[in-house]
Symmetry: C2
Subunit: 337 residues, 2 copies
DNA sequence: TTGAAAGCGCTAACAT
DNA sequence: ATGTTAGCGCTTTCAA
């Protein structure tokens, strides 16, 4: 079932069918409706590969997302889609299968769909110029930046929070409440990623406040999912090392940690305060409400699009934006007993 | 940057480059490495549109998902991806932009990528043969079935729970605990979708147990997101109509409802029991743990793949599978005071 | 207003 | 072992 079949069935040439399908003006009404009728009859659907192949340019912007079920991304994706449409472009969403090279996938997508630009959501923090060379279009890293890589600053754009500074701020909220025995729950202290950056902020806050870093209060989960966070918290508790507050590097992990604390008989915040970073939807609905530093997810998506469109339309050069988080005071933090 | 450029730069023909790129055996080592070197140098990335266009068949199975941020889908997607790989195929994930026709999108994808089969996740409940005619490959509806449509049973496959029966079962759990004043929180009583089916189950349970349906206890949110559920619950409470238990049609909505109940001073389960359907990850981490009927998300994904592969390999005809849920007793249900 | 034909980038016969 | 070439399905000049 190709455009040729449609052409034959309606007794016109393929170019005429193509014109109808693409709403070109100079086709007679009679022919137009005849073709459309045939299309319906034959259930013809154009092959977008063929289309993409031949079209010199598209109006599409790619959004490449790593990590299917990450609740933090949901709102960013929504915002990006809306902003892209608003700007008069089309968004192509591409999910990276677990364990695939996102730059590679992005480059393929870019070439296939003839993308104008790319937004990367949840990529690695350590790209090299070598890797990104395949990307011949402007791209912006959203919600992360290339902290561990060797990319030159003018080679890309980014919109992110300052993970280390925000983590430090979160821990300082606890310290200001009077906490000195503060545990941390994270993926890994050296994952070359968000976890490592936020861990640095934790360390910095402690040291700036004269609190010694206590290895027994550092709980590594080895993963970002909730069950790992739950188990990690259990193990932390099993160490019997006293702490009055817990800083968790992500909301979703914090929710699991709250449950683990509850299940082991600790009340939040009376026995243990808890603070996190992200501001996912779900964190408003915990009991008590999670105290967290909210990343401006909508604004980040919009800003990423703005930067990219500026580059695409050559209205401005690349930029790196640091967004601020907003502290939402929930019920999960109080002064220590 | 095309295969032709690579060919010229390495002094061979395009077919040789193609052979190298596709790991064909009969290429000399010398040529192979020379080509690979050039590929690296030029940062060549193949154009997958051109590839898809020319390949007579692929080994790909499509997973078309409607609704980016639905936490229920996350685990299904993971399971499908794994099962597809296990079966020796490749999964192509495609997210439907909000408000687009999924059948149309699926058909385009199928033709472009030459898919062998399709899995639809979270589609409509009312397809017509007319619509699905464009799909010329086998497809299976996962987590829903065509309850309101006019598709013939032998035209497709499905894997889903019996939404009405399971909803009835959930409400019966409450009734058996002694509840008679049972409210329901849902999207809409007639959305021709999951909400309507589960509402029917609620009505059935009431009527079978001689409990009159009380319109004041039916709370429609008009949406599936948590903030709508929260507000819906507030409005329900504002009616001042007494109830001792609440059935919510989805876990995510139930979590928001729990918060709304808590915020208005009701204890769960002492003042109000709550039960839902789905079994998303997050529902294990609420306090108290949500009592819910867990859909076997992994098994559903696996089964969908099994059915599809059977059809693709012509080992079996289409099938419709009804899965059972598992009641997880959390702390959110108790006898009424 | 319509048709013929070139060509997008690639793979796979078919030659050599 | 390598090169030549014919398409895959579509859009778009260019002619008529």
């Amino acid at each position: 079932m190709t455009i040729k079949d449609v052409a034959e069935h309606s007794g016109v040439s393929v170019s005429t069918v193509s014109r109808v399908l693409n709403n070109h003006p100079d086709v007679s009404e009679a022919v137009r409706s005849r073709v459309l009728e045939t299309v319906r009859e034959l259930h013809y659907v154009p092959n977008s590969s063929a289309r993409d192949l031949v079209r010199p340019q598209s109006d599409a912007i790619g959004l490449v997302v790593r990590g299917v079920g990450n609740p933090f991304f949901s709102s960013v994706i929504r915002a990006v889609e809306q902003a892209v449409n608003q700007a008069g472009y089309t968004m192509v969403l591409h999910q990276i299968p677990s364990g695939e090279d996102e730059i590679r996938a992005a480059a393929e997508l870019a070439r296939s769909k003839r993308l104008l630009g790319l937004i990367l959501l949840g990529g690695c923090f350590d790209y090299t110029p070598e890797q990104t060379a395949a990307l011949e279009i402007p791209f912006v890293c959203c919600s992360f930046t290339n902290s561990f890589g060797s990319l030159k600053k003018d080679a890309y754009s980014s919109v992110s929070i300052d993970d280390q500074a925000e983590a430090r701020r979160a821990v300082e909220v606890l310290i200001r409440q009077g906490h000195r025995k503060i545990a941390v729950l994270l993926d890994s202290v050296q994952d070359h990623s968000i976890s490592e950056l936020r861990y640095r902020g934790y360390c910095q806050a402690l040291s700036e406040n004269g609190i010694p870093l206590e290895p027994d209060l550092v709980a590594e989960t080895g993963a970002f999912d909730m069950s790992a966070a739950y188990e990690g918290t259990r193990r932390l508790l099993a160490r019997k090392k006293e702490f009055t507050a817990l800083f968790v590097i992500a909301d979703s992990m914090a929710i699991a940690a709250m449950k683990a604390l509850h299940d082991s008989g600790r009340r939040i915040p009376e026995d243990c305060s808890i603070i996190a970073i992200d501001g996912i939807d779900m964190s408003s609905y915990t009991v008590p409400t999670l105290t967290t530093l909210i990343q401006p997810q909508e604004a980040m998506g919009e800003e990423a699009v703005r930067i990219l469109v500026d580059m695409v339309e050559e209205r401005a050069a690349n930029r790196h934006i640091r967004m601020d988080t907003t502290l939402r005071i929930g019920g999960s933090v109080a002064a220590p007993n």
